[in-house]
Symmetry: C2
């Protein structure tokens, strides 16, 4: 290792150690601050970040990629509805893959510790650059400024560092060498053995449009740290955040003497998608996918002989059996549902409430009163444009509004009640913003076809069930058959909770019980909360555990007699 490399490893050693401790203890920890407050970051950085973002607009995004065959860019800001005007290099897949393979030879020889330190350096520099990233995420995904800053910044980088903690643990589990002594007959056999970590091959990271960085960091860092190059395939309508990431990673690699083609960007267009060419290429050995259940399950059904990690989505449910403070609990649901206008993989989509109502500390409350309370709490958020802007941000694509319109039409046709028409709210900073508050629809279990498939847009169903147990039964069955990433339960009855927690676990539904208050109930904390179980159709991977990293590298060994001069 060079002095520069040794210094880098030392610089990040404490962070790595703390991250390993955090995933082992699963306590709250982060090396970053997830608030954009200028009290933390000073006055200069927010302005500089905004300026850096604006300087990206209406020009080519050059990053020295190999094999450029053209330029394209189709991004439109959900906040201004104006095109960003950025064009990105379109690259020949064979060239990107070949370049990655060339770069891999040197990278695979770097020590795991150095590769991890390089990734930590990337994370640190990306954090340092996070105000620009916040604007980039806002204007492709539609996230609010604060959410883009935190959720697509530190919270996502934390997931990346979490993956590094597991990669370090898994690679550290392999002794680099050993001496072996054993008597065989009259022979005293003495062997020296060497165990080499061998990366699996080129990693492909397919990113989603609504939350591009959140899954990309763990996937990229998991593959890179274990010695694999990475090709990032952003969604064609949300390229900029990943272009900034790739540019930064390439700069860090170059700065430390590695081939920048270890990290490249495979841009495509909606009309001519390119993912399939990478997926099918024999040199692509690892695929991380985040996105629609449709393409995710296609990959799950067709990809063989490669490592495939998917996170898609499902139907997240809430079961309300009984509560202490009704308004407090329904506010938690309304907030979680409204956050980013329900365009999150953890957004609750269905609230199951017993048709005969529930117990609260203030006595019995009817189904209708529970439903009305949710509507009231959604109203409270929607009625203040400033609050609405901070929570809901914008709707990324017209498609999500079509989902709402379709749900509305179906509801009317099928006889469900529309308790709340979702409407645009006026964004205080972006008058043209594509905004939408929650539509709330009420029905019963006979309307399962309506709410039992993922509707990726601002629509929430409140469903009357025969009983609380019937609610939990339906919620867990939906999780098993349709997939889920986060389930929620409200109950003051420990027997009820105890009766169902194992069922939720068996169907692979991570469960939040009785959460209220300032923390978003669908907030998933890196290092502490596992994200996705791999046990139901919402994905086969877990962010992050040992299985997320352990198969990204393999072990090759050699052995030979211990030489006398070495014995």
């Amino acid at each position: 290792m060079t002095t520069q490399h040794e210094t880098l490893v030392s610089k990040h050693a404490a962070t790595l150690e703390a991250a390993i401790d955090a995933v082992n203890t699963r306590k709250s920890w982060s090396p970053f601050k997830d608030s954009p407050s200028s009290k933390i970051h000073g006055e200069e950085k927010p302005a500089a970040g905004k300026a850096a973002f604006e300087a990206r607009l209406n020009r080519r995004f050059e990053m020295g990629l190999p094999g450029i065959s053209g330029w394209s860019g189709e991004e439109v800001s959900p906040f201004t509805l104006d095109p960003l005007g950025i064009s990105y290099p379109l690259c020949d897949p064979e060239t990107l893959i070949a370049s990655a393979k060339v770069a891999m030879a040197h990278w695979s020889k770097a020590s795991p510790g150095l590769r991890i330190a390089l990734c930590l350096e990337m994370a640190e520099q990306l954090y340092d650059n996070n105000f620009e990233m916040a604007h980039a995420v806002m204007h492709v995904a539609g996230q609010s400024y604060t959410q883009a800053f935190s959720g697509s910044g530190p919270n996502a980088l934390d997931r990346g560092i979490e993956a590094l903690a597991y990669a370090a643990t898994a690679m550290d589990n392999v002794a680099p060498e050993a001496k072996y002594h054993r008597q065989f007959g009259r022979d005293e056999v003495a062997l020296e053995k060497t165990y080499t970590l061998v990366p699996r091959g080129v990693g492909l990271v397919i990113c989603c449009a609504s939350f591009p960085t959140w899954n990309a960091y763990p996937a990229m860092f998991a593959s890179l740290s274990t010695g694999n190059p990475v090709i990032v395939k952003p969604h064609p309508i949300a390229i900029l955040p990943m272009a900034i990431v790739v540019e930064r990673c390439r700069a860090v690699l170059s700065e430390f003497g590695f081939d920048p083609n270890l990290v490249t960007l495979a841009v495509d267009t909606v009309a001519e998608p390119v993912a399939g060419q990478y997926v099918e290429h024999p040199d692509v050995q690892i695929i991380d996918f985040t996105g629609s259940p449709r393409f995710g399950s296609h990959l799950e059904r067709t990809v063989t002989g490669k490592q495939l990690f998917t996170e898609t989505a499902g139907v997240n449910s809430v079961v309300v059996e009984s509560v202490d403070d009704l308004a407090e609990s329904m506010r938690a649901i309304a907030r979680a549902s409204s956050l980013f206008s329900a365009q999150m993989c953890t957004s609750p989509q269905v609230v199951f409430v017993p048709k005969d109502g529930i117990q609260t500390r203030d006595g019995h409350v009817s189904f209708d009163a529970v439903a009305q309370c949710i509507v009231d709490e959604v109203d409270a958020l929607a009625d203040s444009p400033k609050v609405a802007a901070g929570i809901m941000g914008a709707v990324q694509a017209q498609l999500s509004l079509d989902v709402v319109a379709e749900a509305s039409a179906m509801a009317e046709r099928e006889g469900l009640s529309i308790l709340r028409q979702g409407g645009a709210y006026e964004h205080p900073d972006f008058p043209a913003a594509r905004t939408r508050t929650m539509m709330v629809i009420s029905g019963d279990s006979s309307h399962q076809a309506m709410y039992a498939e993922e509707r990726f847009g601002p629509v929430l169903f409140i469903v009357a069930t025969d009983s609380a147990d019937a609610a939990a039964e339906e919620a867990t069955e939906l999780a098993r058959t349709r997939g889920t990433i986060s389930c929620y339960m409200y109950s003051t009855d420990d027997d009820f909770v105890d009766r169902w927690v194992d069922v939720y676990a068996t169907v692979g539904a991570n469960l939040s019980i009785n959460l209220t208050g300032a923390m978003w109930i669908n907030f998933a904390a890196a290092y502490s909360d596992y994200h996705v179980t791999g046990l139901n159709p919402a994905g086969n991977a877990c962010l992050a555990d040992l299985s997320f990293v352990a198969s990204r590298f393999r072990i090759a060994q050699r052995r030979r007699p211990i030489r006398k001069d070495a014995a």
Copy 2:
């Protein structure tokens, strides 16, 4: 945990701890003795084991399996050529799978520590029963008595315990619970989190005919210890060893209060194979396969949405660049090749020697002299029936003799030289035994079609190459394209070795360098030697590493506010 369970966990705690230490340090270790010597085991056990085996013959093998629809057995002893006369239950796949799922519910609730202790108890009891197993393996697979005792007994059980060490490490990596404290705005959030290990589903273990227990133990123990039930699918011509294993595992499970249907046996016939029905069943979520590259690669190409672990075979090569003592090195090759008449996944099949010969401590030696030395060393083993019997055992199936006949015919047709005709040797104990010593064929790199595919039988190719580097080039390219499990190299030139070790690692070829002496060069020691890399067509799994176990279970979490009474 009951007192009985606590006692069991205590009983095996030291073994588990020592096994974890052994895989971490990769030193030589085993809780067992792998010699059948009566000095170790006493006079009684060997006789009792033989008697137990004989008592199995010519009757039904009853083990209380559910869903029996018939009885069948087709085994023929390679030593006597007589049918064993044992018939085994044929079971309805749906019933076995349903029974496994029923049993899983209780098993998944047992602590990881208890499940591991149960597996260690199975291993201990199987070791205690190993003389019977030795005879069972001999008379279905054809292994010699000593090899059957060691290789299919302690050496295989060690692989199972090795898998338990990794399972313990992987499961121990998941904190069972945590307290989470973080400030969100003005809220001091305090959560209790619970992380539950959830087994993936029914495990299917498909065993090979020549070495059934060796891969079965690690697969069975890896799945069982992580909470999954296991259905063992033995090869229809080599059922008895796995029937004995399943019977013993079921007895241990019953003894400790668990449903014996956690381990069942799915017998089929050559005419009506049943594996596909299990492979395709949605409840079967884990598949461990050992056997032919043909069926293995079929599974690798077609199985999706399940965990698949394969070990098949490939073309194992030896590169001879230079040696110290020619006879010593060629003896090592001759012995490894002759062991079990080359019916092992680690048997060398091709020896590459530079056409201009090699350097030895006694000066330069021609290609022909090297080849003749190998032939002489094979002769030395073959000429003594007692030595031959101990090393070569019997040939399992006529198919392996057909392989030799086909190689012989091709060699004559293609103009290769048959340096040694393999012939039967007279077995001192079993005059009817199907025996065969090595056929040795010489050619050059132009005959690659002959030696570049696995020939599972007693045939060894010695191939002249343009140079030593050309030999290593061809060996590693064969490894990459055809697969390999063990490669061998002889060279006194450190520069040559250093030039090639990384290439071997990159193609996933485990390499033994300059091994001679009493230890079989193709001996792979559990806890110390990784077996199969997963980087070439010889299999996708590694026995054993973290990736062999880490995805056999998943993690489901729940979280709730810390209650005041619990805070």
